[in-house]
């Protein structure tokens, strides 16, 4: 549990898992995939940010949010607004009736840039907003819900309703938000063309870098006493309360953390994909994010990353050949996870592959020195807590 120096940590069992992921994302995939496929992996990884947030919020603290798409989308829209303003110079939009405003506003007979768009001329403001806007909304929802002790299924339903509301709002306010098409035709970031293959590859590495920063931040929270309080809250909320903790403030914190992470993911999505639309905000993407997290293993941060990668890769592969079958496949996957391996891939790994590691020559002995740190509770207690609630 205790790590003394970064070097010691990197050679511990957990450190090796992180190194392996880094090796895969920074060396293996860039060397084997072409720029187009690598960009797709980059897109999948943006969902991993949301999945890491859900591991903390749902896996550790037991708060299921079915509205992470909201925060992902807000982060993405903040970035898209900045890029759109940069693309909408008076010269580039000289054929509009009002040059200098985004094209969709012009189509909707808006003649002046709305006030809330103004600050997005500034890149530093945008970078702050990418995290601050989702966190602020999460804070408001969290305070309103958790201080009133709304939890469990009710909370999940409310987050889902918020996802629906935000989608409707974005689509309805076409002149302000680009409506159902979203904010499209994004070209440059501070004058740097983000549509070239080279730019996409650079953005991929930025995305991987930020993913590791997010993983380490989440890991820091998980290993602090706060992480154990989150787990304790999941098991016995009342006991935590009567051990002198204001449970609501801890829930608000972890919900904001998850929202901030999702926001970063959303901004990176916009940069790599080149547009943002309501279809990444609503109920379906929010539930997909829960599936990534569940499949990867909701108690494991790395599990969340692998879950996002694998489900999205499967989704692309599957929908390229059988587009109409994908929703069924995904539904089946989710049922399979819930019934057969509730702790996800991370749980399967711990149960079946970890015992085999010891048999490996050299490495096996080496890993054996480190006693594995159980990430997931035994399945039995999981079922018990399900019965209780």
């Amino acid at each position: 549990m205790k790590t003394n120096s970064p070097l010691q940590w990197l050679t511990s069992r957990e450190g090796i898992y992180y190194l392996l992921l880094a090796l895969l994302l920074l060396v293996v995939l860039p060397l084997t995939l072409d720029a187009f496929r690598l960009n797709m992996v980059g897109k999948y990884l943006t969902y991993a940010f949301a999945a890491i947030g859900l591991v903390m919020c749902w896996g550790k603290a037991g708060i299921l949010s079915l509205g992470q798409g909201v925060f992902f989308g807000l982060g993405g829209y903040c970035m898209a607004m900045f890029l759109k303003l940069e693309a909408s110079t008076p010269e580039a939009t000289s054929n509009q009736s009002t040059p200098g405003i985004p094209d969709f506003m012009d189509w909707n007979q808006i003649t002046e840039l709305p006030g809330f768009w103004q600050p997005f001329h500034s890149f530093s403001f945008t970078l702050i907003a990418v995290i601050a806007v989702p966190v602020l909304l999460a804070f408001i929802i969290g305070v309103a819900m958790f201080k009133r002790r709304v939890g469990g299924v009710y909370f999940a339903i409310i987050t889902q309703a918020i996802a629906a509301i935000l989608t409707i709002l974005i689509i309805g306010q076409q002149g302000l938000t680009g409506g159902v098409n979203g904010i499209t035709d994004l070209q440059t970031l501070m004058g740097w063309n983000i549509r070239t293959d080279a730019a996409k590859t650079t953005l991929y590495f930025v995305c991987v870098g930020l993913l590791f920063v997010s993983l380490l931040v989440a890991r820091q929270v998980q290993n602090a006493k706060l992480g154990r309080i989150l787990v304790a809250m999941r098991d016995q909320e009342t006991r935590v309360r009567f051990s002198g903790y204001d449970v609501a403030s801890f829930k608000v914190f972890v919900f904001c953390l998850a929202a901030g992470l999702a926001g970063i993911g959303g901004a990176l999505f916009t940069l790599q994909v080149g547009f943002m639309s309501p279809s990444f905000v609503g109920i379906v993407p929010s539930i997909e994010m829960v599936v990534f997290c569940a499949l990867g293993g909701r108690y494991s941060l790395l599990g969340g990353v692998y879950g996002a990668l694998l489900v999205n890769a499967a989704k692309s592969g599957f929908s390229e050949s059988f587009p109409e079958l994908w929703p069924y496949a995904m539904g089946a996957l989710f049922i399979g996870v819930v019934l057969a391996f509730p702790n996800g891939l991370a749980g399967l790994y711990e149960r079946y592959i970890m015992p085999l590691e010891k048999r490996l020559p050299v490495i096996g002995k080496y890993l054996d020195k480190d006693s594995p740190e159980p990430q997931a509770p035994p399945v039995v207690s999981d079922q018990l807590s399900a019965e209780k609630s």
Binding site: R228, A232, R234, R239, R241, F242, Y245, S249, F250
Partner: protein
């Protein structure tokens, strides 16, 4: 009466709670002296657990006051009541099953109770010393790194008592601490409570009259949300009203 009031650790006066018109606790008053061991007994549904719920803030009073030290508990939030010095053990052992015994006690250690505090919290020598000392008191030194989910029922009860002790509360409230325990565990628990009661004020709900006789300074008998009788164990045992509704003939 009023001059005396300041000497009480806990003063419950006119406490009433009504659930849809049913008065689970009805105009209840009692007083605890510092370092006193008080046992509440009474038939099922007498409102014993509800009294503890009201004191620790789990249930809100309809009327009346609960004064503890200088604080009016009826107006405080649960975690504030804990910080004021009231610890509560629940009837069913509620420990954190996925955490080890050490972590269970560490979470209860009275430091780093805010979000920022919990992020910055360091497991220093003082914490380790306190946790190990308490683990020793509650007979769990050998299990200190085991997940609490693997403990026996009795051990979980002890762990929860330990989690209260490490908070250093002025008032400890225990709801049926020996229920569901084996004879051997029961004996050890009585021993544990004797150690605890040396320097805490304790409010216990218990049915086992032998056990009550062993530990109680004074006994309060409750019936239908009211105090039926109060005094030494001999006194209440002889009280005809108590014999009628609770002890039987």
């Amino acid at each position: 009466m009023n001059a005396q009031k300041e000497n009480f650790l806990l003063a419950v006066e006119g406490l009433t709670v009504s659930f849809d018109g049913f008065k689970a606790v009805d105009d209840l008053s009692f007083y605890l002296d510092p370092k006193e061991i008080r046992v509440i007994i009474g038939p099922n549904g007498a409102g014993k657990t509800t009294v503890l719920d009201l004191i620790c803030g789990k249930t809100r009073a309809t009327a009346g006051s609960i004064r503890f030290g200088g604080n009016e508990l009826t107006k405080m939030k649960e975690h504030q009541i804990v910080h004021a010095g009231v610890g509560r053990k629940f009837q069913n052992p509620s420990v954190f099953e996925d955490l080890t015994v050490f972590e269970n006690l560490e979470v209860s250690y009275p430091q780093g109770h805010t979000v920022m505090g919990a992020l910055a919290f360091k497991r220093d020598a003082a914490v380790i010393e306190a946790v190990e000392r308490i683990a020793d008191t509650i007979f769990l030194s050998d299990q200190i790194n085991e997940p609490a989910g693997l403990l026996s029922h009795g051990q979980k009860q002890w762990l929860e008592i330990g989690m209260l002790l490490i908070q250093k509360p002025d008032l400890l409230m225990l709801d049926e601490p020996v229920a569901g325990m084996s004879v051997a565990e029961r004996k050890k628990t009585a021993e544990l409570l004797r150690v605890i009661t040396r320097d805490h004020t304790v409010l216990v709900i218990e049915h086992d009259m032998q056990f009550v006789g062993d530990i109680a300074d004074r006994v309060t008998v409750m019936h239908q949300g009211k105090v039926l009788s109060e005094g030494s164990i001999e006194h209440v045992k002889k009280d005809p009203k108590v014999i009628e509704v609770y002890l039987g003939h």
